[in-house]
């Protein structure tokens, strides 16, 4: 395994540790800033964001320099937690009863990470549907995303700016809550499905056996 890893490393060695240490706080920091500032500034959120950013940076540097499955998963989770936290804050603004949204959201997130172990076929099918949709809804969504894709950031900024300006803060929060939840859970499922076969405790026979493709 070590030799295999050594052999694979040159392919990914273009990212040096200092580059990762420089860029990881930048990328994670933007998500952290969103987490801190949306819907309003929160000192608690700031502390959490700083912690997640630092942890993610360390994990990124670690995973770049020394291949480690846990480090990579920690880095991705730090990113997803920032998005999930943003969604939670938005949900909390909309629905004061925390358990109404927190329980489903937490369950969905955990389920997304564990789905490859629970139902490999279903997990693989979900991922495949996102890439090559076979259903009508999937095709429609893909077409929609293709059309609005390049303007996603601009559209989001427009929603953020004009929504609050016109007194539609609730709608903006709803968009943020739904979007953050979906992206966090979806990303978790996609990462879990794709990284599950490379887990450290996997048996060699599991490679490819749990991807639901055979």
């Amino acid at each position: 395994m070590a030799k295999q890893g050594q052999r694979n490393r040159p392919a990914a060695s273009s990212w040096t540790w200092w580059k990762a240490a420089t860029l990881a706080p930048l990328g994670l920091g933007v998500f952290g800033a969103v987490f801190v500032l949306v819907p309003t500034y929160s000192s608690t959120a700031l502390k959490v964001a700083i912690g997640l950013t630092v942890a993610g940076t360390v994990a990124a540097v670690w995973s770049v320099t020394r291949p480690n499955w846990w480090a990579a998963i920690a880095y991705i989770n730090s990113w997803l937690f920032l998005m999930l936290g943003t969604a939670m804050r938005a949900w909390a603004t909309l629905i004061p009863q925390v358990w109404v949204w927190l329980v489903p959201l937490a369950v969905a997130y955990l389920l997304a990470w564990t789905l490859p172990a629970i139902s490999p076929r279903f997990s693989a099918r979900i991922l495949r549907e996102q890439f090559a949709p076979e259903t009508r809804w999937g095709r429609g969504c893909l077409t929609l995303f293709l059309v609005v894709g390049p303007a996603a950031g601009a559209l989001g900024a427009s929603v953020g700016m004009y929504g609050s300006r016109f007194g539609q803060g609730t709608a903006v929060m709803l968009v943020m809550a739904v979007l953050g939840s979906a992206v966090a859970v979806g990303f978790a499922q996609a990462v879990a499905e794709q990284s599950w076969p490379k887990r450290p405790w996997a048996q060699p026979a599991d490679f490819g056996a749990r991807d639901g493709t055979r």
Partner: protein
């Protein structure tokens, strides 16, 4: 019809009315139709109020029969299989079906009786139109292994190594041939590889590499160029899919079938491994396959589509114009769809361009990323793109090579993500949203008192547009950075994590919303707008100056134009006068000549008469004098002769001189439309003169020295008292 029964006079039967009653001779005949507006034929009840009997039964039976006939027979007759009436071609009652034609004169003749040779026209070559579909291919690396290693004649049924249609089809792929022949990659890569192209088409980071192969599935391949890989390489270098028959793990057909999750809704997708033809078929065709030229030549139709008209002039031949559809060469790539000119239909043209850009994005889905065992990422182009144009197609999206480091792939696609944020489409979205929001805000919303013509509206729109576009760029850049890090971090593990398209877009949108909220919350936009408005006002003075300069220029231009106009007018007048003088001179000359001639003739005649009269008088006087009163009568005779001679003189009629009509040329003076010089309101700057506060000049107090003048005491001059002497006048007597 017997007399007693007397048919009911339902002469005015109106179905819609449903009821007609008419009375004749006490017999009331009523025709009742239930629910007449719906099913008249199925429910007609004829009721005779007076006499129910044979007639009613007969009519019932007839009605029932007619109803059945109408229900059962008429639809059959009206159907497409119904035997139509004999149709005589050429008659008006026998119209032609649209794709057909009629040959008016099959054997046209010339006037001399010779037959007309009608050259045969060319046939229409069928044009294959294939609509590209948004179909990201889901490429399974296992298919590579199965392709390169499928046993010859094995049960896979993939025949000539075309199970995936990926490796063998890409003849451009030379450098990564060995890896592509690797016998398979881990299952994780199954989803990731095909996913990357979805990111590539939208410019999203393909965060992933499938680095390690599953040796359990791969047939224990070690090294970069194992046997199976060599087989695969030979396959690709030669471009012959038959090479794929070598090698092998002998993947059974059913397994291969299951390992290829194809999109079944794509034409041909379900036949990925169903044999030679089916396997080689592309999932969808972006570029239609070039037509194969037939060695037998162009097929000629048996009959020309149209023939000559029956009325021919002698020796006239018919030369039908046949436009041959050019045969497309092998590897022919159809030209891009027509782009409309933006001059006439500007917005439509822009819309078409936008659609075209979307279409290009869709075609990018043909790019596929394949993870190699060595940790590199192979970039290949699917069968949807014809051979020979794959390199150009791949290079168009930034992949000029076939094997990349995963971080390089992430960088390229991440760069494309940022490119997408800077694209016309994204900027257009920003412009539209900012314009719409500000139109509402300044037209109906909070700032409607300022209006949409105010500089505040312009400033707000500009600032919002810039902020939205900038936020989109920042969001895209952030996601690209995070994705690139994720790629690098996981690639070090030999792991591919590819973000589905919607997730990357969702993350970008989240960042965008957050940035937008933050901008609005911290009032960044308001501050910028205030500065921009100030700038507008400052520029207003510059604009005023420009207007003044423009006005001066306009005035000078107007003066120059007026001068030119006056010069033209004066020249025209001079020319007109010159022409008129010439004509009048000619006319005056002719008139005076004629008048002079007439006067001369008249004077001559008068002088002749006078001379004769004088002579006669002289003769008469002499005769009187000589002959006395006898000759007095001669005088009268001479006078009469004189008058008769004068009367007999011919009347001199002056000839009518018809002066030539001189039509003066119409001189149309050019309309000199002076430019409207809208003098700008020159608002003189308020010159606030500085208040000049005159300094209070406090003159120094000059304390003059006290000059103590010496007291000049004038000497007392004691004048001597002059005592006048008392003069005692003597008293003059008392009275």
């Amino acid at each position: 019809m017997t007399a007693p029964l007397r048919p009911v006079d339902c002469c005015s039967f109106i179905p819609i009315c449903g009821r007609v009653k008419k009375t004749r001779d006490g017999v009331t005949g009523g025709l009742l139709i239930d629910n007449p507006s719906r099913s008249m034929l199925l429910s007609i009840h004829i009721v005779f109020d007076s006499r129910k009997g044979v007639l009613m039964k007969t009519l019932r039976a007839l009605t029932l029969a007619a109803t059945l006939a109408a229900v059962c027979v008429l639809p059959v007759l009206a159907g497409p299989d119904a035997d139509p009436a004999p149709c005589v071609p050429g008659t008006p009652s026998c119209p032609l079906a649209p794709p057909q034609s009629v040959q008016v004169n099959p054997h046209p003749l010339n006037a001399d009786g010779t037959s007309v040779e009608i050259p045969t026209s060319g046939g229409l070559v069928p044009v294959e139109v294939v609509v590209p579909m948004p179909a990201p291919r889901f490429v399974d690396p296992l298919a590579l292994g199965s392709e390169g290693g499928s046993a010859p004649g094995g049960p896979s049924g993939s025949g000539n190594g075309t199970s995936s249609g990926v490796v063998g089809s890409d003849s451009d792929l030379l450098t990564s041939a060995g890896e592509a022949g690797s016998p398979g990659v881990g299952g994780a890569g199954a989803g990731s590889v095909g996913a990357a192209q979805a990111l590539a088409l939208a410019g999203l980071g393909a965060m992933g590499v499938v680095a390690t192969a599953s040796q359990a599935l791969g047939g224990r391949v070690s090294g970069r160029y194992p046997t199976g890989g060599a087989a695969g390489r030979a396959t690709r270098v030669g471009g012959n899919r038959a090479g794929g028959a070598r090698g092998g793990n002998g993947a059974p057909k059913d397994r291969e079938e299951r390992m290829l999750p194809r999109a079944s809704w794509i034409p041909g997708a379900s036949s990925a491994s169903s044999g030679h033809a089916g396997a080689a078929k592309a999932f969808y065709t972006i570029v239609p396959p070039p037509p194969t030229p037939s060695p037998t030549g162009t097929p000629e139709p048996e009959k020309p589509s149209q023939t000559a008209t029956p009325t021919l002039t002698p020796a006239q031949t018919i030369t039908p114009i046949v436009t041959q559809t050019p045969q497309a060469p092998p590897g022919f790539v159809p030209p891009p769809p027509l782009s409309f000119s933006g001059k006439t239909i500007k917005w439509l043209g822009k819309g078409v361009k936008a659609v075209q850009s979307i279409g290009r994005a869709l075609t990018a889905s043909a790019i596929q990323f394949v993870a190699h065992e060595s940790g590199y990422v192979g970039v290949r182009v699917g069968d949807a793109v014809t051979e020979g144009s794959k390199i150009a197609f791949r290079g168009h999206y930034g992949f000029r090579g076939t094997r990349y480091n995963p971080s390089t792939v992430a960088r390229i696609t991440g760069r494309d993500l940022i490119k997408g944020a800077r694209s016309k489409w994204a900027l257009g979205i920003s412009a539209v949203t900012s314009l719409a929001a500000n139109l509402y805000d300044y037209g109906l919303g909070e700032h409607r008192d300022k209006g949409i013509l105010s500089p505040e509206f312009a400033a707000s729109t500009m600032v919002d547009y810039g902020l939205a576009a900038g936020a989109g760029l920042v969001a895209a850049g952030t996601v690209a950075i995070v994705g690139g890090l994720a790629t690098a971090g996981l690639a070090a593990l030999g792991l591919t994590v590819t973000a589905p398209l919607w997730l990357a877009l969702g993350a970008t949108a989240i960042v965008g919303v957050g940035i937008g909220l933050a901008l609005d919350h911290f009032g960044v936009g308001d501050g910028l707008k205030a500065k921009v408005v100030d700038g507008f006002k400052a520029w207003g003075g510059i604009a005023d100056n420009a207007k003044v300069i423009g006005a001066v220029l306009a005035q000078r231009t107007g003066a120059a134009v007026r001068q030119s106009r006056d010069a033209i007018i004066s020249k025209a007048k001079e020319a007109g006068n010159a022409v008129g003088g010439l004509v009048s001179g000619i006319a005056a000359g002719v008139t005076s000549g004629v008048r002079k001639a007439a006067a001369d003739v008249k004077g001559f005649v008068q002088r002749a008469g006078d001379t004769i009269a004088k002579t006669a008088r002289g003769v008469g006087t002499a005769a009187i004098g000589l002959v006395g009163g006898v000759l007095g009568k001669v005088r009268d005779s001479v006078d009469r002769i004189k008058s008769s001679l004068v009367s007999k003189l011919p009347k001199v009629t002056l000839p009518k001189v018809s002066l030539p009509k001189v039509s003066l040329p119409k001189i149309t003076l050019p309309k000199v439309s002076l430019p409207k010089v809208s003098l700008p309101k020159i608002t003189l700057p308020k010159v606030s003169l500085p208040k000049v506060s005159h300094p209070k000049i406090t003159l120094p107090k000059v304390s003059l020295p006290k000059v103590s003048l010496p007291k000049i005491s004038a000497p007392k001059v004691s004048l001597p008292k002059i005592s006048a002497p008392k003069i005692s006048w003597p008293k003059l007597g008392s009275r």
